[in-house]
């Protein structure tokens, strides 16, 4: 049974931020609640105040500008991202990722902001957004700041958010030409969390050598991480399947997966190797097309 709390339901962002600066750590923020409610029900968390920001429609939007890129409000649901024509057109990989995230019921009510702020190492959006060079805009009653997603995660369920800050917006740079971006997770059942997950973006030069490569891993460490050493192996190179295999091996060596009842550390590393190899190739093919 959930422990009693005092319920706060601000109607504006300003009100929400003021309440947050007032109550700080005594206050937990709920949006869609798809992660938080399970934790509250199991009494893993007790909070004096619950700040409900689900109604803050001013944070519910998907906007695109050819120079600035994509801006998604924190309260935007996963389902809205999944179904957005704009996102399907410009950032296909985000829509694809959302189709793999949990199940429809969860996507209908859960939000991108809630997901990113939760900081689950197995979360789907973070690795994908990392490969797109994304950042998050966070703010408190006084000011706002932008944090690159690569720097947003500190530890499992621990982010760079201060106790009086809300995650406000996800910012994704405009996609460069000749970029391919893909996401794959390995699980036993379609709607499961990934045993591991791999996101890759590859940007090609005009001469089809690799201009930029980003590889991000989900559930291969306590937080979503970039496989930077593996990425560097691709820059300046041509399409080479043997290279991709080595890239996979490097990514596997440089992650820190756990052993649990679902998979051993060894098997997770093997999956990282296999998936990275496959996804690099797939992203490259997409970029070249």
């Amino acid at each position: 049974m959930i422990h009693d709390f005092n319920y706060l339901a601000p109607t504006t962002l300003k009100e929400a931020l003021d309440l947050l600066s007032q109550y700080k750590d005594d206050c937990k923020v709920i949006c869609g609640g798809q992660s938080l409610l399970i934790i509250l029900r199991q009494r893993l968390l007790v909070t004096e105040y619950l700040l409900d920001i689900k109604r803050l429609n001013e944070l519910n939007y998907v906007n695109f500008d050819p120079t600035e890129g994509l801006r998604i409000g924190a309260v935007t649901s996963h389902r809205a991202i999944e179904k957005s024509d704009l996102i399907k057109e410009k950032y296909r990989v985000l829509a694809d990722m959302e189709t793999k995230l949990a199940t429809i019921q969860t996507r209908n009510w859960g939000t991108i902001g809630g997901n990113l702020a939760h900081g689950d190492a197995a979360g789907d959006p973070a690795p994908v957004l990392m490969t797109l060079g994304a950042g998050v805009k966070v703010g408190n009653a006084e000011k706002e700041r932008i944090i690159p997603l690569d720097e947003f995660y500190v530890d499992l369920f621990d982010t760079a958010l201060e106790e009086d800050e809300l995650l406000l917006e996800v910012q994704v740079p405009a996609p460069p030409p000749r970029m391919g971006a893909v996401y794959e997770k390995f699980n036993l059942l379609a709607s499961d969390q990934g045993i591991v997950a791999v996101a890759v973006s590859v940007t090609l030069n005009d001469d089809s050598t690799c201009k930029d490569a980003r590889i991000a891993l989900g559930n291969a460490a306590s937080i979503a991480i970039r496989a930077k050493e593996a990425e560097q192996m691709l820059v300046g190179q041509k399409f080479d399947e043997d290279l991709f295999e080595k890239v996979g091996e490097t990514a596997a060596e440089n992650c820190d997966p756990v052993s649990d009842i679902h998979a051993s550390e060894d098997y997770r590393r093997h999956l990282v190797k296999t998936l990275t190899n496959r996804m690099v190739k797939r992203a490259w093919d997409q970029a070249a097309a």
């Binding site: 049974m1 379609a190 709607s191 499961d192 009842i261 098997y267 999956l271």
Partner: protein
């Protein structure tokens, strides 16, 4: 045979209730003055209970009672009532706990939340004892003893033997031995275990509970509570799944009853999903050693099998699982010599008991995989080797059982045709097959009931509507509909003329309930007999009215009472009913029926058969298996309810495929590590293969209209077919369940390394 109602497309009679939200389950029951109960559970796998201090919990506002073992009669109960030594469980133990999650106390309070809070206030002093968690460890000398006086923790042994096994091995050209490991499995019913118990001052106890067998619970509760059996009323509302896990006495029923008897107030206990995982029952995990001898032409000669099962903390139905696994491990083949020795071993873990298949899925996995390995070694066709040795109609399993109807051969033919039709498979794909045979209810009366195994009463009202009272329990498998079909067919009326009454021990006759695939055959026979009895009375009146030549018989078909052979001469059923009732001093026409198997051996009155083919695709880089197609040719005698049958098959596939590749309960020192639906994985819609059912019709003389079971046997082959499909696709055998991707990958790696050498 063409029937009017049997084997036609009928709606399930509970359908409208279920698709409109009107169906109420024990989970939904709310009665005036009802209290909420919660159970305090042991955190230790093995410990003495030194003291339980409930005073702080009792003092909490809103708490009405707290009970422990001291508040009970301390009776050790078990479902094998005939054997006292197997009645080994005090549900609220008085002296020690034997598994993590075992109840030690129960609270009743005005809200669920207060009851939960009260649990934290109960102080239990334990003296932990060393525990043992694996049967192979538990049988060692010096291992901790789970129950006093049970040497080496060997709880039950079983021995099955026929023929001269040694000689048969000597006559074999090829002998092979293998070790296998079969996992457990959770029933994972959508409705968790739950009960509402209400005891009243006149000394009567009513228990609403999610059960497969109201009569069993009536008798078991009366036994442990010191009540007269008939003063206990068990009511099953709609039941949200059973699968073998809901016919033994559980803590929801027991604790709510004890609390209610103390307060004379209704008490409701609903297991959380976590409690359901850690503290109900599970499929029996087994270690299998199989040694098989065959001739070069594939004739099966000898098999010698030794099985150790992980029994968990108490016996329950585990004794039956031990026997059936050994018996069905020989199925469906003829062996010159067969020997099975089974050992059930106590461990400090969740008790293992009965789950759909009842030891036969484990038996099939080990047998069928080895048979394919043998066939490959000898270069024999896998269908042909099965055909050569398969059971045939009227075969006698020496000293064990007589098979009457058997459609195995036709099933093999159908599967062979299907495999051929698939042609050459895409890369990384394979097809695996498995045969099976299974029982239609058990004969051995370990419950020690004096009642017929099944009973039914048919009552015909003035308007022709028929009340069918049965003890058979519908748990979703559709037995209400099946019995209505049988009743309508026999009586010669329509489905809409039948009203089924079940699930209430006050109103319905005793029946052993829905387990062991017994209801279609046993309750079906009882229903058929009752309908025939009632029909006989109607026909007497019809004959009196019609006055036909004595050489003619009468019958009723589709509401038409007529002369057989001269069907144009007849009377309307409704008219006959009216005159019959008037002719009986205004009494409704009543027919009684019952069935207990006689002179059919000690195992089962009839056996169903089948062959399943499973097509899979393997990702050789990750080891992941995708299920593509599943075709099952099966013989259940005469199908009674075809929609129900397809449902049983498809449901069986999802459960059995889960057993084969997904479901497991890993433990650490007796602690189940995945007691939730995130970590315990069960098959969902996108994971199901395409399914096809091929009915092979036979006629089983012992069954109603020739019918046998369909639903449990169908869970037997899939894990085996999966293992064989992997063997076919990639040439590797995985001999432990579940067959997870990492095991496949390891097997592939070993094969590669083997090639390099």
């Amino acid at each position: 045979m063409k029937y009017n109602v049997v084997n036609t497309h009928v709606h399930n009679i509970d359908g409208v209730a279920k698709v409109t939200g009107r169906a109420t389950y024990t989970f939904d029951v709310k009665v005036p003055g009802m209290l909420y109960g919660k159970i305090l559970r042991s955190p230790h796998a093995h410990a003495k209970i030194l003291n339980i201090d409930t005073s702080a919990a009792v003092a909490l506002k809103g708490v009405k009672a707290v009970v422990t073992g001291k508040d009970t009669l301390g009776i050790k109960q078990g479902i094998w009532r005939r054997y006292e030594e197997l009645c080994d469980e005090q549900i609220l133990p008085m002296e020690k706990v034997r598994y993590i999650g075992e109840p030690v106390a129960a609270v009743a309070a005005v809200t669920e939340e207060i009851a939960e809070e009260a649990l934290d206030l109960i102080e239990v002093e334990y003296e932990t004892l060393p525990g043992v968690y694996d049967p192979m460890e538990a049988i060692k000398k010096g291992a901790p003893q789970v129950h006093d006086g049970v040497e080496r923790n060997i709880n039950v042994t079983r021995h099955i033997e026929w023929g001269d096994v040694e000689e048969a091995f000597e006559e074999s050209d090829y002998v092979r031995e293998d070790w296998f490991r079969c996992s457990g499995q959770a029933h994972m019913c959508m409705e968790t275990r739950c009960a509402v118990a209400s005891y009243t001052p006149e000394g009567k106890l009513t228990v609403w509970t999610s059960t497969q067998a109201p009569y069993y619970h009536q008798a078991l509760l009366a036994g442990v509570l010191g009540l007269r059996e008939s003063d206990v009323r068990v009511i099953a509302k709609f039941v949200g799944g059973g699968f073998g896990g809901k016919f033994e006495l559980d803590a929801a029923q027991f604790c709510s009853s004890v609390l209610s008897m103390k307060l004379s107030k209704p008490v409701k206990i609903v297991f959380t999903r976590e409690e359901d995982f850690i503290a109900s029952k599970r499929r029996t995990p087994m270690y299998y050693y199989v040694r098989t001898g065959v001739k070069n032409d594939g004739t099966f000669m000898a098999r010698e099998t030794r099985v150790f099962t992980d029994g968990g903390a108490y016996t329950g139905m585990g004794a039956t699982a031990l026997y059936l696994t050994g018996f069905f491990h020989s199925f469906p083949y003829k062996w010159a010599g067969y020997r099975y020795d089974g050992f059930r071993v106590y461990t400090n873990t969740l008790q293992s008991s009965s789950m759909r298949g009842f030891g036969a899925p484990q038996a099939a996995f080990c047998s069928e995989l080895q048979i394919d390995l043998i066939a490959r070694e000898l270069g024999l066709d896998r269908i042909e080797i099965r055909r050569k040795n398969g059971h045939t109609p009227n075969y006698e399993v020496p000293g064990q059982a007589t098979i009457a109807s058997c459609g195995l051969r036709e099933c093999l033919d159908e599967i062979e045709k299907w495999i051929e039709s698939r042609g050459e498979l895409a890369p990384n794909r394979g097809i695996g097959i498995s045969s099976y045979g299974f029982m239609s209810g058990g004969i051995f009366n370990w419950f020690d009931t004096p009642y017929s195994f099944s009973s039914a009463v048919v009552t015909i009202n003035f308007d022709g509507k028929v009340d069918l009272h049965i003890g058979a329990q519908d748990i979703g498998q559709g037995s209400n509909t099946t019995m209505a079909i049988i009743c309508a067919e026999e009586l010669g009326v329509r489905m809409e003329d039948i009203r089924v009454h079940s699930g209430d021990t006050d109103e319905c006759p005793p029946d052993l309930g829905a387990w062991g695939s017994r209801q279609t055959l046993m309750a079906g026979n009882a229903t058929k007999m009752a309908a025939a009895e009632a029909k006989k009375q109607l026909l007497e009146f019809a004959a009196a009215q019609m006055g036909p030549n004595i050489v003619y018989d009468l019958d009723i078909k589709d509401r038409w009472v007529h002369l057989i052979g001269r069907p144009e001469r007849g009377l309307d059923y409704f008219d006959v009913v009216k005159s019959a009732l008037r002719g009986k001093a205004g009494q409704r026409i009543v027919g009684r029926g019952y069935y207990t198997p006689h002179r059919k051996g000690m195992i089962s009155p009839a056996y169903s058969y089948g062959v399943q083919a499973l097509e899979i695709e393997v990702d050789p880089k990750t080891g992941k298996i995708d299920l593509i197609n599943c075709v099952t040719a099966h013989d259940c005698g005469q199908p009674i309810n075809p929609i129900g049958l397809t449902g049983q098959l498809e449901g069986a596939i999802s459960m059995a495929a889960g057993y084969g590749m997904l479901e497991d309960q890993p433990m650490e020192d007796g602690q189940i590590m995945n007691p939730n639906l995130v970590d315990y994985k069960i098959i969902r819609a996108p994971d199901m293969p395409e399914t096809e059912v091929i009915d092979v019709e036979t006629y089983e003389p012992e069954g109603p209209f020739g019918a046998k079971e369909a639903g449990e046997g169908l869970t037997n082959p899939t894990a085996a077919a999966l293992a064989n499909a992997l063997l076919d696709a990639m040439g590797v055998a995985v001999k432990t369940l579940p067959i997870t991707p990492d095991k496949v990958l390891n097997a592939l790696r070993e094969k590669e390394e083997g090639k390099k050498e």
